[in-house]
Every structure is written in structure tokens, then in C-alpha cells.
């Protein structure tokens, strides 16, 4: 403790005891006057009282000992390891050395950037020109630097990357990635939604507007025509509503494409539920749904609601576009824990021409626009399926031959991969 600090302490103590001290000094003065003693004795006694008040310990021995023990037991920075500290950081964190080789990655980083292991050369993994420059600059200048960095594939991600030297030696550097993808995606979503929605909504809107014009003019007094037009208008508005629902759910999924849901879901009751819900539609289309799901539970990691959407979309498509076949089969192919689970939906309809297969999951891609519109399709069903499956680390494969129906297979990876 420095001298200034000591003086401060004494002043504090005297200040807190000022009333007692004042009373004591007054008492001494009174006694001295009464006894007619020398004023010097009174002054000396007062000073002695003040000195005791200033320096004598006021807390008990036990209290002081307890305080010292608490001091000793308080966790100090030196007691934690650097690994523990890195693990507590919620953003991806990489520690690297002068050769730009990785020394340590925290667990968040291992998930966000798989393949970054100890010894990996950072410039080999982060090849974008701005990252190369960032690493080179950090190594030469030894100053904290930040840049914006984006990755386009496999999913688009945006980061604010910060590199700073760790400690005084300048031999170790920390690189932290702050994820900004969600903010960017919200902007993108807004723009995309407007572009897609305006493009796809224009057709039904134009038709509704046309009928309104007819109803106000030429068909004003024709009840039969009015009824017919109103029916068409209702169908068109229903289509617009469906389209908006689909666009919204697609946009929601696109917000977080890389977060894979962690719930455990048994596919068997889930698929059975979907089949029950779709039976009326199947009957209307004259299609029978055959399920062959085996006896074992089919547990995968995922989100129940989203998986329901996947199988609903696949089965609905099979019923709509494979109606001429009269039979839709849903079956489990490899119920083995090591290989994951394959669920396939097969229809016996006209099939899908080969050249369309790679593009089925694009937004608004339709094999045959007229058939799709007639079946109340929005052109977004399979795009939604693909997005959900990407989130679940699952894959969709499509095989088909003209005239022999189509098979949509969903491959779920084994639980711990």
C-alpha cells in the first residue's frame, strides 16, 4: 500500500469516528477545567485518544482471519487454463503461432469450421484474398485488426474477423469470428421476398383484377356468370394465400440454414400421422398410400414440425403428380444405425424427365407449369424440403424414368456423425 493510500485510510477512519472523538475531546476538556489541571495534559490526552482512534485495529481477530482466508480462496486468473478460457468464448476462436499454424481451436470453432485441426496452416484453409492479407498483416505488425469476411459455399456466412496478438511475447495470435450472417440474411430475405412475391403474385392478381372489371361492366346483371367468376376469383386468392405461406416458411428456413435442430424424433409415428392427414387428399385423387415402415423405431435428430413438413410435401407431390399410377409407397430401406436411415416415397405416375431432375429443388422450378398450377402447386414445395433437409444434414435423391414413376429418397445420416 502506498503512502497516499495509507493517509486516505487514516482519514477515512477518523471521519467515521468523528462524533465519538468529539465527545471524548469535550469530556477531557470538561474534566480538565473542572479539576483545574494544566491545559497541556488535556491536549496530550486528546491527541492520544485521536491517535488510538486512527491506528488501533477496530475489528476482532476472528473477523480479520476470516477475511484473509476469503482473500486466499478467491479464484485467481492464474488458476484457469487457457483452454478453459477459450472454451468459454461463445464465438469461434482460433489460436495460431508465428508460422500461421493452428495451436488451438475452441469447440464452437470446431463446429463452425470443421477440418481446422491443430497444425493446419491458416492461410491454406482461409484462402480468400482479404483473409490472406489479414493474417499477413497481423503477423508483421502485431496490432489488433478486423475485417469482414464471407463464405459463399456450402452455406452463405458472413463474419467480422478480429485478429490480435496474445500476451507480450507476440508469438501467439487469437482470431475471433463474430457471426453476422443473420443480420445480412434478414436484409436479403426482405429483398428476395419482394422479388419472388411480386413476380409470382402478379398472375393471379391480374386475373382477379380482370374479373372484377368484368363483374362491374359486361357481367353486371348476369347472376350465372357472376357466380362462376366469383368462384374463379376465390380459387385465385386461395392460391395467393398459399404462395405467401410457402414463401414465408421458406424465408424462415433460410434464416438459419446451418443450425441443425437437436430434438430426438421417431419417424414412424410421425410418418403415420402424415399419412392419416393426407388420406382425404389421396382418396380424392384416387390414390392408395402403402406404408412399409418396419417394426423398429426410426429415431433421428431433428425438429418434429419441420420433418412433418418434409413428408407432407413429398407424399402430397406423389399423390398429385403420380395419381395415374393409383399407388404411392413409402418405405424404409436401411434401418441400420451405422448407415443412417433412408426413407423413400415412390409413385407410379408418368415419372420425371431426366433433364429436370437436377433442378427440381430450385424455387419456382416446375416441370410443367400448367399441371402444377392445376394441382394447386406453388413451385416451392421441394425447395422447402431441400432447405429443411440441409438443416438436418440429410440428403434428398431423386430417381425416375419416364413412364415408370419417380422415387424420392431422404437419407438421414447416422445420429453421431
Amino acid at each position: 500500500m502506498d503512502i497516499h493510500g495509507a493517509g486516505e485510510g487514516v482519514r477515512q477512519r477518523l471521519l467515521s469516528a468523528r462524533w465519538v472523538l468529539a465527545a471524548a475531546v469535550a469530556g477531557i476538556a470538561l474534566v480538565a477545567i473542572e479539576a483545574g489541571a494544566d491545559y497541556r495534559i488535556a491536549v496530550g490526552a486528546s491527541l492520544a485518544v485521536i491517535a488510538v482512534a486512527a491506528f488501533a485495529p477496530r475489528r476482532s481477530l476472528r473477523e480479520r482471519r476470516a477475511e484473509r482466508e476469503a482473500e486466499a480462496n478467491r479464484p485467481a486468473m492464474g488458476s484457469i487454463t487457457a483452454e478453459a478460457l477459450a472454451a468459454a468464448v461463445s464465438d469461434p476462436l482460433v489460436i495460431f503461432d508465428r508460422q500461421a499454424a493452428v495451436i488451438h481451436v475452441n469447440s464452437v470453432c470446431a463446429v463452425a469450421f470443421p477440418g481446422l485441426s491443430i497444425g493446419t496452416s491458416l492461410p491454406l484453409r482461409f484462402r480468400a484474398p482479404e483473409m490472406q492479407e489479414l493474417i499477413a498483416k497481423a503477423l508483421t505488425h502485431g496490432q489488433p485488426i478486423s475485417i469482414d469476411y464471407s463464405e459463399k459455399v456450402p452455406v452463405e456466412r458472413f463474419f467480422r474477423v478480429n485478429v490480435s496478438p496474445v500476451g507480450d511475447g507476440g508469438d501467439l495470435f487469437a482470431m475471433i469470428f463474430r457471426d453476422q450472417s443473420e443480420i445480412r440474411r434478414i436484409d436479403r430475405m426482405r429483398a428476395d421476398f419482394i422479388a419472388n412475391a411480386s413476380h409470382e403474385l402478379r398472375t393471379p392478381l391480374a386475373s382477379v383484377a380482370g374479373f372484377i372489371e368484368t363483374l362491374r361492366g359486361p357481367a353486371k346483371n348476369d347472376p350465372a356468370a357472376r357466380e362462376q367468376f366469383l368462384q374463379i376469383m376465390q380459387a385465385q386468392t386461395a392460391r395467393m394465400a398459399r404462395l405467401i405461406d410457402d414463401l414465408l416458411s421458406l424465408s424462415r428456413l433460410e434464416m438459419k440454414p446451418y443450425l441443425n435442430p437437436a430434438e430426438r424424433v421417431d419417424l414412424k409415428p410421425l410418418i403415420e400421422g402424415v399419412i392419416d392427414a393426407l388420406n382425404p387428399l389421396a382418396e380424392d385423387s384416387g390414390v392408395r398410400i402403402d406404408a412399409n415402415l418396419g417394426a423398429d423405431p426410426l429415431v433421428v435428430g431433428g425438429s418434429r414440425d419441420e420433418l412433418i413438413q418434409v413428408f407432407e410435401n413429398l407424399l402430397e407431390n406423389a399423390c398429385k403428380y403420380g395419381r395415374s399410377g393409383g399407388l404411392v409407397e413409402i418405405s424404409v430401406i436401411h434401418p441400420g444405425q451405422q448407415n443412417g436411415i433412408d426413407v423413400s416415397v415412390r409413385d407410379h405416375g408418368p415419372g420425371i424427365p431426366e433433364e429436370h431432375i437436377p433442378r427440381l429443388t430450385e424455387r419456382f422450378y416446375r416441370v410443367d407449369v400448367e399441371t402444377s398450377r392445376g394441382q394447386k402447386g406453388t413451385g416451392l414445395g421441394l425447395a422447402i424440403v431441400k432447405h429443411i433437409l440441409t438443416r438436418h444434414k440429410a440428403r434428398l435423391t431423386v430417381s425416375s424414368r419416364s413412364g415408370e414413376g419417380a422415387t424420392f429418397t431422404v437419407h438421414f445420416p447416422p445420429p453421431n456423425s
Binding site: Q99, L124, P129, H356, I357, F364, Y365
Partner: protein
């Protein structure tokens, strides 16, 4: 490079080659990405930038070549070191070609955007570019990690790219038949699609080189397959 050489600057030389390749790879990835972006958003400024950026890759290739030749002359490399160096020469050549193809796409932006094009023309091209970029990234990641586990995926993806290209070929032909005014833009887009498909082929080449560097063996020969666009004829299209 798990083991060290007695002469430490030899290690530094090999490391330098690898880091130059990585930097070139990053540039090539960025060029392709930006070229397609410029095409879709009709961004002429970005297209010009891509064309200028190609010089960086040309310079990179020259540098890798020279360095590799000096290392061979000075150190008389053997076994995996020799493969490493020869591999670097080959990969830098492939990357330089990828850059050229990106540049070529960027050059066509002017012609394509001369007339207003509907967005649907670009959707397929974007999807194709995404496949090719994913493949390029995976291959370069494989080069960084020197593991051959994922090599097979690269070939599978190449099949996907070819299928997508064939589909795009048909689609563009359809647009041309619908309206002759589309022909200029569609022809350019057809070349762009071909360029992207070629980028996929170069990525496959790099994958084979990496396999050779790591194992010392040639990659097992591929089953015969190709894109089927050379079989697409007008008569099929009219039947559809």
C-alpha cells in the same frame, strides 16, 4: 510435411509453394463467385474488376513455376517432396485456367446485360456456379488438409455438374426457340455455363493431383461419363 528436413529453408520453400497455391485458390474462387454475381446483377464495375484480377493469377502461376524450378535445381527433391513440387506446378496451372474462365464470364456481362433479361435465365446458372464453387472449395480444402477421404465426393459432384449443365443447355435452347430476340443473350449464357462446367473439370483435375501428392498413386480410372449436351438435338426439343 510431417517430417522435417535437415536444411530448414527447404521446409520453408515447400511451405511457401503451398501457401502460394492457397492464395491463388482463394483468388480463383473469388473471381468465379464475383463473375457470376456480376452477371446476375448486371454489375459492369464488378465485371471489370474480375477481368483485372486475372493478372494476379497469371503472376501467381509464374511465381510458383519459377520457385518450383529453383527448388528442384537446388535441392534435388525425391519421393513425396518431388510430388509436392510437381503437384504445385500442375495445380497452379489449373487454377490459372479457372481464373481465365472466370474472366471470360465477366467479359460477357456487357453483352448479356445489353438487353433486359428475365431473372429466370440466371437461376440455373447460379445453381450451376454454386455446385462448381462448392467443388472447388472442397478440393482446395483437401489440398490444405492432405486427406483423401473426401476425394470421391468431388467426382460425384462432377456428375451433378454435368447433369445440371445438360439441363441448362436444353433450357437455354428452349428460350432461343421461343423468341429469336433471346438468341444473343442465351448464346453468351451458354458459353458462361460451359465455362462453369469446365471449372468443375479443373477442380476434378486438382483433386487427382492432390490424390497423387498424398498417396503417390494415380487416382483409379474413372468410369466413362460426360455431359450429354452433345446429344441434345432440335428434334427432341420439338417433341417435348
Amino acid at each position: 510435411m510431417q517430417t522435417q528436413h535437415i536444411v530448414r529453408s527447404y521446409d520453408a520453400d515447400l511451405k511457401y509453394l503451398a501457401s502460394r497455391i492457397a492464395a491463388m485458390g482463394g483468388h480463383a474462387e473469388r473471381m468465379v463467385e464475383q463473375a457470376v454475381q456480376a452477371l446476375v446483377t448486371s454489375d459492369l464495375g464488378l465485371a471489370r474488376k474480375v477481368v483485372e484480377d486475372d493478372a494476379v493469377l497469371d503472376e501467381g502461376q509464374r511465381e510458383v513455376d519459377e520457385k518450383a524450378i529453383i527448388v528442384i535445381a537446388k535441392r534435388q527433391p525425391m519421393a513425396d517432396d518431388l510430388r509436392e513440387i510437381i503437384g504445385a506446378i500442375r495445380i497452379s496451372g489449373d487454377l490459372e485456367r479457372v481464373g481465365d474462365l472466370g474472366k471470360n464470364i465477366a467479359k460477357r456481362v456487357v453483352a448479356v446485360t445489353e438487353t433486359q433479361q428475365p431473372l429466370r435465365l440466371f437461376r440455373g446458372l447460379e445453381a450451376l456456379a454454386e455446385l462448381a464453387l462448392t467443388q472447388l472449395k472442397e478440393v482446395l480444402d483437401t489440398y490444405a488438409s492432405r486427406s483423401t477421404d473426401r476425394i470421391q465426393f468431388v467426382r460425384d459432384r462432377d456428375d451433378q455438374i454435368d447433369a445440371m449443365y445438360t439441363s441448362l443447355f436444353r433450357e437455354l435452347l428452349t428460350y432461343m426457340m421461343e423468341d429469336p430476340r433471346n438468341i444473343t443473350a442465351c448464346t453468351h449464357l451458354l458459353f458462361c455455363a460451359k465455362n462453369i462446367e469446365r471449372i468443375g473439370d479443373h477442380a476434378t483435375n486438382i483433386a487427382e493431383t492432390v490424390y497423387y501428392i498424398v498417396t503417390g498413386l494415380q487416382m483409379p480410372p474413372e468410369r466413362p461419363k460426360e455431359d450429354k449436351s452433345h446429344k441434345v438435338m432440335l428434334e427432341d426439343m420439338v417433341d417435348d
